[in-house]
């Protein structure tokens, strides 16, 4: 009971200077250790993936040129194995760009709606909807794609339903929340003065949005799209269920295809550690890592151009 009646000075000055210093030091070291753990984790993953991914070329004699230029992938053929990763690289890029093509206008449009057109009720409805989309696990997206989207595409556009198109639609819904939420932040962090000056010189609302606000927020909007693309590039499970995982180069958007991630997840468990089959899968993973580095460099560059 006495504790309750303690005065502020008693509470705050209870400890000596020495223990205060100790606390200061302890706090500092906890933060420093956390930072070090994060940095070492990233560096060691990079080193590990680098050494594993290059083994196929240095130890097993797979030609890097063939790996990056050939469209023939047949690692289990005992007589003449072929390791051409082009179909998967093309597949990964195709679904990524196509899904960004859908998600970017939708996401930025939604963001403008929430911040400019209907900031009060629009945000109240759209925000929870977007957050809900984030919470749905990717396996659920894949399963819905497999059960609903694939039969629908089979009946309406022809082919077998498993296609780049199916992968693109599933992925664009998956990356929509990323794009929308970052774009919303970008739009709402623009200074009020921009809008007011635009209205003051007689611009309409649409002119203000189109000519002033979007160009001003452009670097961050692009960051939003690139972050979405990075997620699409790395997504495996949902894409695997709808894309068909066929190792031939797709010639149309309705053709089945495969991506780097789907080939890795399909084959990793079946191959034995240290075999060529396994090592080339690590090489595919190394390409994924290299691509995510490129995405990050792009994002850093874009954010260096931010004005607001």
């Amino acid at each position: 009971m006495d504790n309750k009646t303690m005065t502020a000075s008693q509470r705050l000055l209870k400890k000596s200077n020495k223990s205060l210093l100790q606390m200061e030091l302890r706090g500092k070291s906890i933060v420093l250790i956390s930072a070090l753990i994060i940095i070492t984790a990233t560096i060691s993953i990079t080193i590990f993936l680098g050494t594993k991914g290059l083994q196929a070329f240095f130890n097993n004699g797979v030609s890097l040129y063939e790996f990056l230029t050939s469209t023939n992938w047949n690692p289990t053929n005992a007589e003449s194995p072929a390791y051409g990763a082009v179909p998967f690289i093309v597949g990964s890029f195709a679904v990524t760009f196509l899904s960004a093509l859908i998600a970017a206008p939708l996401g930025i449009g939604g963001a403008i709606f929430m911040t400019e057109i209907a900031p009060s009720w629009g945000k109240k409805i759209l925000q929870p909807v977007i957050e809900l989309l984030v919470g749905i696990p990717s396996v659920v997206y894949g399963f819905i794609g497999l059960s609903v989207l694939v039969p629908f595409l089979r009946d309406s556009v022809g082919g077998q339903g498993f296609s780049l198109l199916a992968g693109m639609i599933v992925l664009s819904i998956m990356i929509l929340p990323t794009v929308t939420s970052i774009a919303t932040d970008a739009m709402s962090s623009l200074p009020k003065g921009l809008r007011e000056s635009s209205y003051a010189i007689g611009a309409t609302r649409w002119q203000t949005i189109w000519r002033v606000l979007i160009p001003a927020a452009m670097p961050t909007l692009l960051t939003a799209v690139v972050l979405g693309m990075a997620r699409a590039f790395g997504e495996a499970l949902a894409v695997q269920m709808v894309i068909g995982n066929v190792r031939t180069l797709p010639s149309a958007i309705t053709d089945p295809s495969a991506t780097l991630t789907t080939i890795i997840t399909l084959n990793m468990g079946h191959t034995t550690f240290g075999s060529v089959e396994n090592n080339v899968l690590w090489s595919l993973a190394l390409i994924l890592l290299a691509m995510s580095f490129i995405f990050i460099i792009l994002i850093r560059y874009l954010s260096s151009r931010r004005q607001f």
Binding site: N74, N77, G244, N245, V246, R247, M268, H270, T272, N278
Partner: protein, 304 residues
């Protein structure tokens, strides 16, 4: 105010997450220390890893085994045949399950591993019921899978395009099917490639003109797929046992060297009549003890 609210919500969620993870860890630790404690008594604990097709069977056997021997702790993981073979060769697990002979996988010291053939799995091609075919000759089957025949009409079925459902290159099921059903001819890329048997069954059931390959356990009455007889031989357990039906594979449990202690007890249990005559057929496999023919790693078949 609103911001505060959402920040608070986030903090609560984060704490819940930390709490949940912490609990999970504690549980794991508890399990492993229990296992170690038991180890001092008599039975101990082992980890089994490998083929995801075998996991249900071995896990069910392990559950029965640990009910009869409460001091034993057996964990059965599924990671794929390659993972199982690699881990047992490295000594990371005591028993590695595989759908294929260790000799068939690159980079595995097969001479150091001891093979225990626990069960036999028969598999056959299966088609969408609308196709209208129940029997296919091996020659035609090869033509279908190598893309030489593109419509079921050409084989006397419905006028429907053939949609091949494949398995990944490295899959054991695919290796068995290619070796014994297609005589080594590599299948062309088709409509889709899927790993899990459940997905393959779903796809064959729902895709018009689809053909794929599945283990016998997926040929139940309400599976929605039509299993094909090959050269007039029905895909039944009896035909596999007598060696008439060619597409089957062993389910292997590998140990590094001779098994000892709990591994030996458990493998003996797997081969006991109790498991072989009850659990193995229940799970859709053929008991290894009932086979009248034998096959070696090179695929040579001999009468037992």
């Amino acid at each position: 105010m609103k911001k505060m609210k959402s920040a608070y919500l986030l903090a609560v969620l984060a704490m819940l997450l930390v709490f949940a993870t912490a609990c999970g860890n504690k549980n794991n630790e508890g399990a492993s220390t229990d296992g170690n404690k038991d180890g001092k008594k008599a039975s101990g604990s082992i980890v089994i890893s490998g083929s995801s097709a075998m996991q249900p069977l071995v896990a069910a056997a392990a559950e029965q085994f640990t009910q009869e021997n409460p001091d034993a702790d057996i964990q059965v993981q599924a990671g794929g045949s390659g993972t199982g073979l690699s881990q047992v060769a490295e000594g990371a697990v005591k028993i590695g399950n595989s759908d294929v002979f260790a000799e068939e996988k690159e980079g595995i010291p097969a001479d150091k591993l001891k093979d225990h053939q626990v069960a036999v799995v028969g598999m056959s091609a299966a088609v969408n019921p609308e196709v209208g075919i129940k029997d296919i000759s091996k020659k035609d089957l090869i033509k279908v899978f190598t893309g030489k025949v593109k419509n079921w009409k050409e084989l006397g079925g419905k006028d429907q395009k053939i949609a091949l459902i494949n398995r990944p290159d490295s899959s054991g099921t695919r290796a068995t099917f290619v070796k014994y059903a297609l005589d080594g001819n590599a299948p062309v890329e088709g409509a889709a490639t899927e790993d899990s048997s459940n997905t393959v069954q779903k796809l064959i059931k729902e895709t018009p003109g689809a053909i794929g390959y599945l283990a016998f356990s997926y040929f139940t009455d309400n599976s929605g797929v039509t299993p094909l007889s090959i050269d007039g031989v029905k895909p039944t357990d009896e035909n596999v046992q007598t060696g008439k039906f060619p597409i089957w594979a062993y389910e292997h449990s590998y140990t590094k060297g001779e098994p000892k202690g709990l591994e030996k007890q458990f493998l003996d249990y797997l081969m006991s009549d109790e498991i072989q005559n009850k659990l193995v057929p229940d799970q859709g496999y053929i008991p290894a003890s009932k086979m009248e023919v034998k096959r070696d790693a090179q695929g040579k078949i001999t009468k037992k």
